[in-house]
Every structure is written in structure tokens, then in C-alpha cells.
């Protein structure tokens, strides 16, 4: 492969097109174009400049992660955090263990808490129907030792279920925030240059 300015810029552009807004991408490209042109004016060759800049693939990957993490921070959504995590995984094997594993565990935990909450919430009204039927004297529905206790118990269940769901929502927001900080820290300290330095 020819290691010249055009190829370097072509790789950066092709890797980032569609992810970055056009003006931001043009701004980044102009930096590298300027770097090449000043370098060449100082008597350095395309190959030398390429070698000291490092792999354009790695550079594009870093820019992509930075952009997606920032996007997930500014505009909180499942989709954005998912994209940011996926892009971060591409930075190195290290992240498979230290980003992917905690991410999956967290998602599973949040989903499980939500489902338990839903079960309790639904179970409450169903159980209370049985209590009411029993109070009305329909024997087939006598699942409670004491129908009144059953009724209060059912209300308690629903309340508990709703609290779990609300708590889960705040827990998710908390982990979202912490997760973004962790991705940023991970990015600025650990990964990114491991292949290209």
C-alpha cells in the first residue's frame, strides 16, 4: 500500500464518514492535510510523516470512540451508550474484559430487577381479586388463610413492585452516568495507543 498523504486522508475519511458530522470530519481532515503539507515543506517525505503520525486506522478508531462517548453523554439513550461501548471494544482486547463484561452484567442486572418489579406489580392485583372473591364467599377462590390479610398483602406486593421499577430507573441513570465517566477515563488512560505507539 502506498503510504502517502492522499491514502492517509482517504482512510481517515472512509472510517469516519457516516459517524461524524461532515463539518467536524472536514475539520479533522484539514488538520492532517496541514500536517502533511508543512512536513513536506520542511523536507520530510510522505512515508516519514505517515510513520510518525501512526496508523490512520487507529487514529480514526480513537476519534470515533471519542465522538460516540461524547454523543452518549450529551444525548442519553440506550442506542447511544450501546454504540459507544461497541466502539470502545474495538480499541483493544483489554476492553473485552474491562468494558464488555461489566456492561453485560449491569444490563442483565437492570433487566432482572425490572422483570421482578413487573412480576410483583402484576401479581398484586391478581392476588387481590382472589381475596375479594373470598370475602364475597366464593369458596373456590379461597387461597388466603385470611382474605383481609391477603388483600393488604397484595397491595403491598404491587407497591413493592412499583418501587422496584422506579428504583431500577434511577439505578439505570446512575450507572449510565458512571459508565460514561468510566469510558472517558478508560479512553484517556488505558487504551487507544496500545497498537500504534
Amino acid at each position: 500500500m502506498l503510504q502517502n498523504e492522499q491514502e492517509f486522508i482517504r482512510i481517515i475519511r472512509s472510517r469516519l464518514e457516516g459517524t461524524l458530522p461532515k463539518d467536524e470530519l472536514d475539520d479533522i481532515i484539514s488538520d492532517y492535510a496541514e500536517h502533511f503539507s508543512i512536513g513536506k515543506a520542511n523536507g520530510r517525505t510522505d512515508e516519514e510523516l505517515w510513520r510518525s503520525l501512526g496508523s490512520p486506522d487507529d487514529i480514526a478508531r480513537e476519534i470515533k470512540v471519542m465522538h460516540l462517548v461524547k454523543k452518549a453523554e450529551d444525548d442519553q439513550s440506550c442506542r447511544n451508550i450501546f454504540h459507544a461501548v461497541i466502539a470502545t471494544l474495538g480499541l483493544g482486547l483489554f476492553n473485552l474484559v474491562f468494558v464488555l463484561v461489566p456492561f453485560i452484567l449491569l444490563v442483565v442486572m437492570l433487566v432482572v430487577i425490572f422483570l421482578i418489579g413487573v412480576c410483583f406489580t402484576i401479581f398484586g392485583p391478581i392476588a387481590s381479586v382472589f381475596s375479594v372473591l373470598q370475602i364475597l364467599g366464593i369458596p373456590a377462590s379461597a387461597i388466603w388463610f385470611s382474605p383481609m390479610a391477603g388483600l393488604f398483602f397484595s397491595i403491598g406486593m404491587t407497591t413493592f413492585g412499583l418501587l422496584l421499577i422506579i428504583g431500577d430507573y434511577y439505578l439505570a441513570r446512575f450507572f449510565y452516568h458512571v459508565g460514561i465517566q468510566y469510558l472517558k477515563w478508560n479512553f484517556s488512560v488505558i487504551t487507544g495507543t496500545e497498537r500504534s505507539a
Binding site: 479533522i28 490512520p56 495507543t193
Partner: protein, 108 residues
């Protein structure tokens, strides 16, 4: 030197160079790679991040016999950040040095 070390200190290096003078990208990159062996290409994404965070701004300036160059300049909050990070680094480095030297003393 260990890559993680370099990556962690790159930001404070960039801020420090810019605290001394406004630089165009190539100049800044050369200034840093003279002393630290790092992929020069990673400095540009860092500059973009610093710009997003409001620590640096850019302006175009004519150059002698060439197209205008993009200069990077520290903002007020950039100066404050440089000052804070420098303080923090100095204290950290002093502690590490003290420990390293202490270790050598004990071994002798």
C-alpha cells in the same frame, strides 16, 4: 516508556506547550515528539477534545509563503486547567520520586 504513562500525560503536555505560546498543529506535535516518543497522529484528536471541552480555541493566521495555518490558543478555562493539572502532576511526581528513592536507599 510504558504507553499508558504517555497517554495519561499527553494532555498536560499539550496544555503546557500552549500555555507558553500559541501553536499550529505541526509545531505543537514537533515540540512534544521531540521529547516524548508517541504516535504524533493522536495529538490531533486530543486537540479536538480540548476544543470541545472549551480549553482551547483556534484561529487562522497567514504564514510566510504558504496557506494560512490553524493556530491553537488556550482559553481562560484552559489556563486554569493547565495550572491545576500541573500542580497535581508536580505533587504526584514528587511523591513517586520520593518513594523510588526511598526504595533504593533501603536496598543498599
Amino acid at each position: 516508556m510504558n504507553i499508558q504513562f504517555k497517554k495519561g500525560v499527553l494532555e498536560i503536555c499539550v496544555l503546557s506547550v500552549l500555555a507558553h505560546k500559541d501553536c499550529y498543529g505541526y509545531e505543537l506535535v514537533s515540540e512534544i515528539s521531540k521529547r516524548i516518543d508517541i504516535s504524533e497522529g493522536t495529538i490531533y484528536p486530543l486537540l479536538h477534545r480540548l476544543k470541545d471541552d472549551g480549553y482551547v480555541t483556534t484561529y487562522l493566521q497567514e504564514s510566510a509563503g504558504g496557506p494560512p495555518r490553524k493556530y491553537y490558543r488556550l482559553t481562560e478555562s484552559g489556563r486554569k486547567e493547565e495550572h491545576d493539572q500541573k500542580d497535581e502532576w508536580m505533587r504526584f511526581a514528587a511523591s513517586v520520586n520520593a518513594l523510588l528513592e526511598g526504595k533504593i536507599d533501603a536496598a543498599e
